[in-house]
Symmetry: C2
Subunit: 327 residues, 2 copies
């Protein structure tokens, strides 16, 4: 299996250490003090870097963690927040604008990146940056970014057990599901149902289907999807259904089984993906890896290169020259 | 045109007044005081009621407005927040759990509903409720819920001009786009691109496609979609593209034109919907009405009843007996 998936366990451990070993609370940037109890944590980033925020929010469920996928950061964010700016390349304009905007406004910012302009701009101002190892493309460097952020956040919050989330990666690598699921999805638009507490797995799968398999996909989050998306099963469409089944709490687990029943009542084009691991973090890492492998297999079936993402390059070229929007 | 769309202008004005006329700041529920400056506003609700929160957040862009589509409310919400609980029927278990959980925790809660258990539980505790007029189904009662919430929030925030958002409704009603767009979409999965500041229009359209047309749909929000969804245009799929073009700020407007160019470079199955109105509120109300009409026309083309949503009834039946999850 190429694309570096087999390196994930090693990279996860290494990257967690990189974040953990940064002595974050001792840092001061002018009047900005990093030794505080944040009232919320804003994780900003786009695409393969931005999904890290989604996984962290689900993994640290119950904390006030805000995902921001846009330029700048919200107007109401102030010095009681901690901003974590994640950009694999360090060249993501949206994220650079956000990080610099936040620092200017007196908000503590930490960068997580392989280098680039984000690293140099933050370091030039004395702000902390964790530099993570490189991968074939941002999305294939998920453990590098994710575990570095968890390491950083361990200075402020209790992080779930890291070991199990690494050991389940081996199970995902050895699974035979990816080949079967790829054949199942070929030629169709995947419609992915997941519970709200594990929603990052569904969005990560969608993103991997988009980028690796050049395939659009619908994400339907339960319980909200029970009030709209679920109705679409009444007609036959060129879609295939994936149900992501995990363990969150009794009510949501019950609802997901009900959704599965309803979808199966209307369609036989349904596959269930059972997540492994006891914590939300483990389940999300397992699901991200397993379903990432599905997207790579699907690309193979379509005879296309998972790594090439031409339309993104075109769009990046178009925004290179523009200025950050004013707040 | 049935389904009550022609009543929207009248209902909008009436419902705004209902919210405005509630003397919210004078209310006290035990030790809970409604005369304060909320540090954030949590709008909780599901489906056709929940989308109200999305529209309000976009319309009052820059304020800390949190959309919550789940049971209970987040653990970190406290008495500095205002919770607005929106349930058309008043019987939505998720929203009832959230409203009562919030009140128990000393958070000011206002209900917006046609009645039901939400109204009686809140009123029984002395908490304020705005009772809005009924419609054929929750989604067709959008102005009733939306403008009542705006009226309520006018006690705390500056609300954009209401008049224009009502006058554009006439333009949507007279448009010939709905028939053409419905024919365009028949047999395909719609993929809807919209800028982040007008994202509620895209989600509302998706929800209406789900419920009225029994059709799944993909929502792709720019700039995030520039990093993943956009790649899917590289292969031919059973999808048709809708670009929602509006006015937010220079950077996002520029990016949306770039997205439109890229999609059109790869596919000729693209339709652009230009929103009318100068404020975000006007554009969202215009878009919600125009695209709602598309979904009703598409249902006609499929020969199905827009009002029936059998799978939702099945799911509601299944959760009727369960208890709210513990926090």
């Amino acid at each position: 299996m190429p694309y570096g998936y087999e390196e994930w366990p090693k990279l996860s451990l290494e990257s967690f250490k990189l974040g953990r070993e940064l002595n974050l609370r001792s840092i001061k940037v002018g009047s900005i003090n990093y030794d505080f109890e944040p009232s919320n944590i804003v994780i900003t980033g786009m695409g393969g870097s931005g999904i890290v925020g989604d996984i962290v929010r689900d993994s640290l469920w119950g904390h006030n963690i805000i995902i921001h996928k846009d330029f700048n950061i919200p107007k109401w964010v102030d010095s009681r927040s901690l901003v974590v700016a994640v950009s694999y390349s360090g060249e993501t304009l949206e994220t650079i604008c956000g990080a610099l905007d936040a620092l200017r406004r007196g908000v503590p910012v930490v960068g997580v990146t392989t280098g680039g302009r984000l690293a140099s701009e933050l370091e030039g101002r004395g702000a902390p940056v964790v530099k993570v190892p490189k991968a074939i493309a941002p999305r294939f460097g998920l453990p590098n970014l994710l575990y570095a952020v968890l390491g950083l956040l361990s200075h402020y919050l209790t992080i779930p057990e890291i070991d199990e989330s690494i050991s389940v990666q081996g199970d995902a690598l050895r699974s035979e599901l990816p080949g079967r699921l790829a054949s199942f999805l070929k030629g169709y638009v995947p419609m992915i149902f997941a519970p709200i507490g594990l929603q990052a797995v569904a969005y990560r799968f969608k993103n991997d289907l988009n980028e690796n398999s050049k395939t659009p996909a619908v994400v339907a989050i339960v319980p909200e999807a029970d009030h709209n998306d679920i109705v679409a099963v009444m007609l036959k469409h060129p879609v295939k259904y994936i149900i992501i089944r995990g363990r969150t709490d009794d009510v949501h687990d019950y609802l997901m089984r009900a959704v599965e029943e309803v979808v199966k009542n209307y369609s036989s084009d349904v596959e269930v993906v059972e997540l492994k691991g006891s914590s939300r973090l483990s389940q999300e890492v397992y699901g991200s890896m397993l379903l990432g492998l599905v997207s790579v297999k699907l690309a193979e079936l379509y005879g296309i290169d998972p790594v090439r993402t031409d339309p993104i390059n075109t769009l990046k070229e178009k925004i290179r020259g523009i200025n950050c929007p004013s707040n």
